[in-house]
Symmetry: C2
Subunit: 148 residues, 2 copies
């Protein structure tokens, strides 16, 4: 036993967040295989399906990711023919990210993913609890992203 109660794994909030995150990603992996993408790539697609056209930084603001993560990720997706990285006319520093026809079409297949996921989570985890969890996490994220 640890000499300090607060250092026991059981008493940490950080570990369940970390473990749940990895488990959820693992849950997505087989579903995303149909689209030949990874989980972070799926998140990029989610924001692009929703907002159509965004700069690298704008995607980063929505997903809380920096350009040093996004640039290679977007390059890989461009190489797969999912999206285009177009230099902005008005501001030559910016790259406008837009989905290709293929990237847009992927949405039709992807729309089944949340449905299938809900099915496999719902065993032993109610919708109400999932909603509460989502709201609590959003509040935590908000408190962690405030300038502090």
């Amino acid at each position: 036993m640890s000499n300090y109660e607060q250092l026991k794994l059981e008493n940490q909030l950080c570990f369940p967040i970390y473990a749940a995150s990895r488990l959820v990603t693992q849950l997505y992996t087989p579903l995303l295989k149909k689209l030949d993408i990874t989980y972070p790539q799926y998140l990029i697609l989610l924001v692009l399906w929703e907002y159509k056209s965004l700069s690298v930084t704008e995607i980063g603001e929505k997903l809380l990711l920096e350009t040093n993560t996004l640039t290679p990720l977007l390059q890989r997706m461009e190489a797969k023919g999912i999206l285009l990285r177009i230099k902005s006319e008005s501001d030559e520093r910016r790259k406008i990210i837009e989905l290709t026809k293929y990237g847009l079409q992927m949405e039709k297949i992807a729309c089944q993913i949340p449905v299938e996921l809900a099915k496999s989570v719902s065993k032993g985890f109610s919708v109400e609890r999932a909603m509460r969890l989502k709201e609590d996490l959003k509040l935590l994220i908000e408190s962690l992203t405030r300038d502090n």
Copy 2:
């Protein structure tokens, strides 16, 4: 706007889990710098302070990590003088992981980390909500790790 309501980032449970996990890790980083370790290395230390002596697979069971993640991680920690990887006498396949004197001493400094963390999270996130979040996440993890 996405054509499918269920594909909007706002409606996903997966994204808050993923984002919160990264934000929490980022919150730990400056605190762990004093010990010159990373967040996953801190988790290894937590279980070793608590259980003293564990095999690679046993650590993996507690942290839900595979040996392909743990082996290099433990090798790096061994190189830093934090722990030892001792071949088991009774079963030559097993490696028993034990903390060095240095690794054990780190606990005295680490015990302040949960205290400092609680301080920075408590602004805008109550203890009750943190407890509820932890329990909900544990239930989610349980439902995701059941054989299904």
